[in-house]
Symmetry: C2
Subunit: 467 residues, 2 copies
C-alpha cells in the first residue's frame, strides 16, 4: 500500500469540514517519545472534539490514503505514538476529548472520553467513593484511550486485571471512518465477535478509541502494605501463593524488588528512604486491600512466612506516610534506572513457575557477555519482570551500546524457551515489530495480518506499528 502525504490541498479540504483550529501543525512534542528512539519528521496535527469529528478526519484520510497516527498522552514505551519516515501523516490527538461523560456508582461504571488523563479517571471514581484500579507510573499524563490501546498493566493487575479487563464498552472510529457506538455498560453480552478486545491492545492500528465504559470497584476500606525480605525468587513465589491462600483476591499488589534497584536509588536519589539498613538481595512489596483489618491479615501472612522460613525480615507500614514511603521506593526504581542508564531494558512475562529458573539462567548468561549489573524487578504476581541491564559501575551505557541487540536477543530467546512473552505490558509498537515476526505463532500472525487487511485495506491506521 502506498500512502500519500497530507498535502496542503488535503489539509485545506479537511479544514473546510471541521470547526476552526481543529487542524494545525504538529509541534516537536508530538514527534518524540520517552525512549528517545523514534522521531517524526513532521505532520498535520488534528485535535477533534467529538467522535463525529474523528470520523470526518479518518474518512478523509482513508479516501486520500493518508496515514493517521493516533496520539494519547505520548507516554508509550515502544514507539507506537511516533511515525518516522518521509510521508507526512495526520497526527490525531485525543487531548480535547477529555470529558468524564458519566459515573454510575450503583453500577460501578464510569464513561470517559479517550483523552481523559488516567489520574483524572481515578479521581472521578474516588469522588463517587469508588476505585478505578488501573495504576501506573505515567498516570499523571497517560490518557485512557492510550491505556486501552496498549492494554496497559501496572501495579494492580494481580487483583483487577489489565486495562482490557477494566473495559466494558467502547466508542471507536474504525479505519473506514464509521463510528462504532459500543459504549455498553453491560457485564454480559454474548452477541457476536468481541470487537472490543480486538481494539484494545491494537495500538491504534485497527481504529481509534474515542470513549470507553470502564469498570469501577468498591474502595477497600483497609489497606495494608509491607516489604518482606525473601531469600530468593522461589521463596517469593511461595509467599505469593500463601498470601492468596490467606487473603484471597485481597492481595492487590505483589512487587519484586532487587538489591541492585535499591542500590541505584541509594546512589542517584539519596532523599528516597530505604526500609532496611542492609540492602537485601531480594524482597517483595505486598499490599492487601480489604473491607477491614488488612494489617491483621498482613501480620498473619508475615508470621506464617517467617515460620516457614520464606521471609527473614520485614516492614509493615503503620501509617499512611509509611505506606507511601514504601511505594515511593518502588516507584523511584525506574527513575533511578533512568539516571544510571540501561544498556537494554526488557518488559517480559513468564509462566509464574518458570520465574526462578529464568532469573538464574539469565543471570548466568548475561554474565558471560560482560560485567553487567542487572536490575530485575516488577510485577511478580503477574509473572511480569522488568529485566534491565546496566553497564558496570563507573562506565556509561554508550560504551556498551553495540552489545544492546546481542543482550536483548539472548533475553528474548531465553524468555521464549520458557514459554514467556517479549512484551508483557508495553506492547509491540515500532520497537518490537521484529520480535513479533520472530516469536509469534505463524498461524496467529497470519490471522492478524488478515484482520488488519480486512478492517484497514488501505493501511492508513498507524502504519509501521505492530505489523
Amino acid at each position: 500500500m502506498t500512502l500519500n502525504d497530507a498535502t496542503p490541498d488535503f489539509v485545506a479540504c479537511l479544514e473546510a469540514q471541521l470547526p476552526e483550529k481543529t487542524i494545525g501543525n504538529a509541534s516537536s512534542a508530538y514527534l518524540e517519545e520517552p525512549r528517545g528512539r523514534y522521531f517524526g519528521q513532521g505532520g498535520v496535527l488534528a485535535r477533534p472534539r467529538s467522535a463525529e469529528e474523528v470520523s470526518t478526519i479518518v474518512k478523509a484520510c482513508n479516501s486520500a490514503h493518508v496515514a493517521v497516527v493516533p496520539y494519547g498522552g505520548g507516554t508509550g514505551l515502544v514507539g507506537a505514538q511516533v511515525m518516522p519516515g518521509d510521508v507526512r501523516p495526520v497526527i490525531l490527538s485525543l487531548e480535547r476529548m477529555n470529558t468524564i461523560r458519566a459515573v454510575y456508582p450503583l453500577e460501578n461504571v464510569l464513561v470517559a472520553e479517550a483523552g481523559c488523563v488516567l489520574a483524572e479517571v481515578q479521581s472521578a471514581a474516588q469522588e463517587s467513593d469508588r476505585l478505578f484500579p488501573l495504576s501506573l507510573g505515567a498516570e499523571g499524563s497517560a490518557r485512557i484511550g492510550g491505556n486501552l490501546s496498549t492494554n496497559a498493566g501496572g501495579v494492580n493487575v494481580l487483583r483487577y486485571g489489565n486495562a482490557r479487563d477494566l473495559c466494558l464498552g467502547l466508542e471507536a472510529v474504525l479505519p473506514n471512518g464509521e463510528i462504532w457506538h459500543g459504549l455498553t455498560r453491560l457485564r454480559k453480552d454474548n452477541t457476536g465477535y468481541d470487537l472490543r478486545n480486538l481494539m484494545v491492545g491494537a495500538e491504534g492500528t485497527l481504529g481509534i478509541i474515542t470513549a470507553a465504559a470502564l469498570k469501577l470497584y468498591p474502595r477497600p476500606r483497609s489497606i495494608g502494605t509491607a516489604v518482606m525480605v525473601v531469600s530468593n525468587p522461589q521463596s517469593a513465589l511461595e509467599l505469593l501463593a500463601m498470601s492468596r491462600e490467606i487473603a484471597g483476591e485481597s492481595v492487590s499488589a505483589f512487587e519484586l524488588l532487587h538489591g541492585q534497584g535499591m542500590r541505584f536509588v541509594q546512589e542517584t536519589l539519596p532523599d528516597v528512604r530505604l526500609p532496611f539498613t542492609d540492602i537485601p538481595e531480594w524482597s517483595v512489596l505486598v499490599e492487601l486491600g480489604m473491607a477491614q483489618a488488612a494489617d491483621a491479615a498482613l501480620e498473619e501472612i508475615f508470621g506464617a512466612a517467617v515460620e516457614m522460613g520464606l521471609v527473614s525480615d520485614g516492614v509493615i507500614a503503620r501509617s499512611d506516610a509509611q505506606r507511601q514511603a514504601l511505594w515511593s521506593l518502588r516507584e523511584h526504581i525506574p527513575v533511578a534506572n533512568k539516571a544510571i542508564g540501561s544498556v537494554a531494558s526488557h518488559d517480559i512475562s513468564l509462566p509464574l513457575g518458570a520465574v526462578p529458573a529464568f532469573i538464574s539462567e539469565a543471570g548466568a548468561k548475561v554474565a558471560q557477555l560482560g560485567p553487567y549489573r542487572i536490575n530485575c524487578f516488577g510485577h511478580l504476581g503477574d509473572g511480569n519482570l522488568h529485566y534491565n541491564i546496566f553497564p558496570p559501575k563507573g562506565e556509561t551505557r554508550e560504551a556498551y551500546d553495540t552489545q544492546r541487540h546481542q543482550v536483548s536477543d539472548l533475553i528474548y530467546e531465553l524468555v521464549h524457551g520458557f514459554g514467556g512473552s517479549f512484551s508483557a505490558e508495553h506492547g509491540v509498537g515500532r520497537m518490537k515489530v521484529a520480535a513479533l515476526q520472530k516469536y509469534a505463532d505463524p498461524a496467529r500472525l497470519a490471522a492478524m495480518k488478515s484482520i488488519k487487511a480486512a478492517l484497514d485495506p488501505n493501511g492508513i491506521m498507524n502504519p509501521g506499528a505492530v505489523l
Copy 2:
C-alpha cells in the same frame, strides 16, 4: 459461497488420512438440540483425538468447501450445534479430546482439552485444592470447548467473570486448517491482536478450539449462603451494593428469585423444599466465599439490610445440607419452567441501574398482550435476567405459540431501549441471527462480516450461525 456435500468420495479421502474409526455417521444425538427447534438432516461424524487430526479434517473441508459444525456437549441453547438444511456437513465432535493435560497449582493454571466435561475440569481443580469457578446448570455434560466458544456465564460471573475471563490461552484450528499454538499460561502478554478473545464467543464460526489454558483460584475456605426477602428489584440492587461494600469481591453469587418461579417449583416438583412458608414475591440468593467467617459477614449484611428496610426476612444456611437446599431451589427453577412450558424465554442483560424500570415496564406491556404468567429470575449481580413468559394456569403453551414472536419482539425492543442485550450468556447461534442483524451496531456488524470473510473466505465454519 456455495458449500458442497460431504460426499462418499470426500469421506473416503478423509478416512485415508486419519486413524481408523475417526470418521463415522452422525447418530440422531448429534442432530438435535435441547430447545427442540433445530434438526440436522444427517452428516459425517468426525471424532478426532488431537489438534493435528482436527487440522487434517478442517484442511480437507476447506479445500472441498464442505461445512464443518463443531460439536461439544450439545447443551447450547441457541442452536449453534446443529446445522439444518440439505447440505451434508462434517460434524466435528471434540468428545475424544478429553484429557486434562496439566495442572499448575502454584500458577493457578489448568490446561484442558476442549472435550473435557466442565464438571471434570472443576474436579481436576479441586484435586489440586483449587477452584475453577465456571459453574452452570449443564456442567455435567457441557464441554469446556463449547463453554469457551459460547463464552458461557453461570452463577459465579459476578466474582470471577465469564468463560472469557477464565481463559489465558488457546490451542485452536483456524478455518484454513492451520493450528494456532497459543496455550500460554501468561497473565500478561501484549504482543498484538487479541485472537483469543476473538475465538471465545465466536460459536465455532472462526475456527475450532481444541484446548485451553484456564485460570484457577484459591478455594474460599468459608462459604456463606442465604436467601433474603426484598420488597422489590430496586431493594435487591441496593442490597447488592451494600453487600459489596461489606464483603468486596467475596460476593460470589447474587441471584434474583421470583415468587412465580417458587410457585412453579411447588406445583411441579413437590420434593424441592422452599425456604419460606409464604412464598415471597421477590428474594435473592446471596453467597459469600471468604478465607474465614463468611457467616459473620453474611449476618452483618443481613442485619444492616433489615435496619435499612431493604430486607424483611431471610434464611442463612447453617450447614452444608442447608446450603445445598437453597441452591437446589435455585437450580430447580429452570426445571420447573420446562415442566410448565414457556411461551417465550429470554436471556437478556441490562445496565444494572435499569433493571427495576425494565421489570416494571415489561410486566405492564406483557399484561396488555394477554393473561401471561412471568417468571423473571437470574444473575442479578450481572444485570442478567432470564425473563420467561408462560401461559395462564390451566392452559398450554401451544395455545399461545402464535404470539411467541410478538412477545419476544416486545421484550427485545424494550431491552434495546434500555441499552441492554438480547443475549446475555447463551450466544447468538441460529436462533438469534435476526436479532443480531436488527440490533447490532451497523459499524460493528460490518466489521464482524469483514473478519469472518478474512478468516474463513470459503464460509465453511458453522455456516448459518451468528452471521
